[in-house]
Symmetry: C2
Subunit: 418 residues, 2 copies
């Protein structure tokens, strides 16, 4: 967990303001839920591996006897936990407030989550997630709205040229079935396939064999991976999707994927469709039921976000299935990418004053500049004026003026810094 | 703990944006600390009664034996807790990062805190605090900068006419001593005096006698409360402060209070000084060492924030005393006061479309409006168009247009709602 000093905090808030403004422009509405959810809800099997990483809150009012009794059932020590994602709270929120929300509800959530990860570079125990979700729309339009809003936001952050890798869990399932993998072994096969980027085709096939996957199926899969093809991922469309899959892919799923591309192309208005079909994109979470995606940008090899369709989850809270699809932009990674951005403030002035300037005079001058729209910091003059001004410049200040006793706003000469 | 639906969340974000922008204009810098702090730090006696209300986080990796052993020492079950205020984390932050901060550090913290309060109207277990603090300036200028920034922020929120009740803990201590209260009984006497608004002068004196406060001191205090005086709190200044106190108030403390008023007056530029000296203002926290204040507004009887000087606290973390003073604006109360504010978005358009409009066409029209600077929500036409439009208006939308198959942006007739 980290402290954020002023320059870093200002950059984070600037990025969040852009994300919030763009998502809102695309018709999404921001909501907020408490950081703590009931323990039972956080450990209902929806959160996958993240459930194990949850921080749990000690129940209040436990006496010595209750604590001793909990030795055999540690869950009795806790009744609340810190959320590890924003999807479980959204499902609970939607089930609670459905009557007050539009039929198709487009939500924004911008908020911290907590996971007790082992400390390592780029992993934090508290980090901000920025999620948009569309609940109540089963059509490809939902995926397209998410993709367009996400790419527009990336553009607005100065990260033009982003694209979205896309696949469908149903495609993966059909493909594994067509190779001959049994239903029960498919989840484990997916975990191996998810390592394709890291292990390469031969490594993946070797691991499948090590894990005793159905041998004929592993052979069929190996043959498919080795088939001669130019890996022409563009242009995105039906021909290219069918080419990337074994023959006979289900029409309905292919049509859904093509529909997303057509809609994104129409909205983006360019010849290039910023989607890349990747038949081996897996995404870890168990709750995905259809489309899955990951956000890519040419400047980095890792993904800048991802999401997918999870039509089954809301039903677990509501007792009635409702289609849902979400996209989470990787806020922490994006902030790191944008390091060094400038402050939006038009004018930020350091007022360097002599020690003997009466406080009233000084605050009157400051108030006059604030009223003109400037951001103003007071600094008492030190021997090393240069160092003082350099530090102010590093903090985002753009100009300075010196104030002596008796001075008013009209006496002030505001000079640019640097 | 509460969920926030879109309209409420939007109002909260608008208020936060104004507060953040105004505080920054006055030269304060925002920082952020993790929501969890070490258990020992949260329970070091600084937090007063709030320490008992802390949510503590279950330590990870406790085995059955460790849990059984904790029956006699429940603190062993926890190593982290959720912060109950922003002052303890600020002191820890400053002690950690002092070398990277300006000599006089003006901080903004806008963040949630948690307290396990009994549920009651207007009390929440998770609520947002907005604090500004100045660390490293012992002069009255620090109090004046806080007061000016706070009143300007209140003005910017449309709550003009605010004022600040002010006192000094040293004044209280001197006054109690002059009445004859012993040093050890003064904290308990302060708790009773803090009820003056509720109990009235007679009730306070009666409680002091019930609690066996030094009898002669209680008599002297009673006589002081009953002295004939017009409660002329204005104009704020030395004459009025001395009139409100027993004779012989220490010059240095009075000068500090007068200095704050002069500086605020100079900065605000009006004849009225928006300060009210209240010799019986107490403020609950034990860590205050000097000036204390509360924010008042004519529209409400309760305070909209408060703060004070706590010169001793940073030293507990740093091993070296550093002057500090802070002001916390009552965000939750202000949001409730401002209920119903309008959205800042210039144009927010609902696109009502027929079911048969191709998704690509629809998203192209939406994208065109978004590119023009509008916020755009899609709604499929329902039989009751009026209800649909009324709900959109309640959600902050200002205009609508209907889209049929084949339409483009140029065919669109955007009409105002309502």
């Amino acid at each position: 967990m980290r402290d954020f000093l002023p320059a870093e905090k200002a950059r984070r808030e600037r990025v969040l303001a852009v994300i919030r403004e763009r998502y809102r422009a695309h018709g999404f509405d921001e909501i907020e839920t408490p950081v703590m959810e009931e323990y039972a809800r956080l450990h209902a099997g929806i959160g996958g591996d993240n459930e194990k990483l949850a921080f749990n809150v000690l129940a209040r009012g436990l006496d010595a006897e209750a604590i001793r009794a909990a030795a055999d059932d540690p869950a009795a020590l806790t009744d609340l936990g810190l959320r590890y994602d924003l999807t479980v709270p959204l499902a609970r929120f939607y089930a609670t407030h459905r009557g007050q929300l539009p039929t198709v509800f487009r939500s924004i959530q911008i908020a911290p989550v907590w996971r007790a990860e082992r400390p390592q570079k780029g992993r934090y125990r508290q980090f901000v997630q920025c999620d948009i979700d569309i609940i109540g729309d089963a059509s490809a339009r939902a995926e397209a709205e998410l993709a367009v809003a996400t790419l527009d936001t990336l553009d607005a952050l100065g990260l033009e040229g982003g694209s979205i890798r896309i696949n469908d869990r149903r495609v993966l399932d059909w493909m594994l079935e067509s190779f001959g993998f049994g239903e029960s072994e498919r989840p484990s096969v997916l975990i191996t396939i998810d390592k394709l980027d890291k292990l390469g085709p031969d490594g993946v096939v070797a691991e499948l064999r090590e894990r005793n996957a159905t041998a004929a199926a592993a052979d069929a899969f190996a043959a498919f991976l080795r088939r001669p093809m130019t890996m022409e991922y563009n242009p995105y469309g039906e021909r290219q999707i069918r080419k990337a899959l074994p023959e006979g892919a289900p029409d309905e799923i292919v049509a859904h994927l093509v529909g997303i591309g057509d809609a994104v192309a129409a909205a983006r208005g360019g010849a290039d469709i910023p989607l890349v079909f990747d038949p081996f994109l897996v995404r870890g979470m168990g709750y995905y039921t259809g489309t899955i995606f990951e956000l890519a940008h040419p400047s980095v090899s890792y993904s800048l976000g991802g999401g997918g369709r999870y039509d089954g989850m809301i039903g677990r809270f509501l007792g009635q299935d409702v289609p849902a699809v979400g996209f989470s932009i990787g806020f922490e990674r994006i902030v790191d990418l944008l390091e060094g951005g400038a402050d939006a403030a038009a004018s930020a002035v350091v007022l360097v004053h002599d020690r003997d300037v009466p406080t009233g005079e000084l605050l009157a001058v400051k108030a006059a500049l604030v009223a003109e729209g400037s951001r103003v910091r007071l600094e008492q003059r030190t021997k090393n004026l240069k160092a003082l001004l350099e530090r102010a410049e590093a903090d985002g200040y753009t100009a300075f003026a010196t104030v002596s006793a008796g001075a008013t706003r009209t006496d002030l000469e505001v000079k640019p810094l640097g």
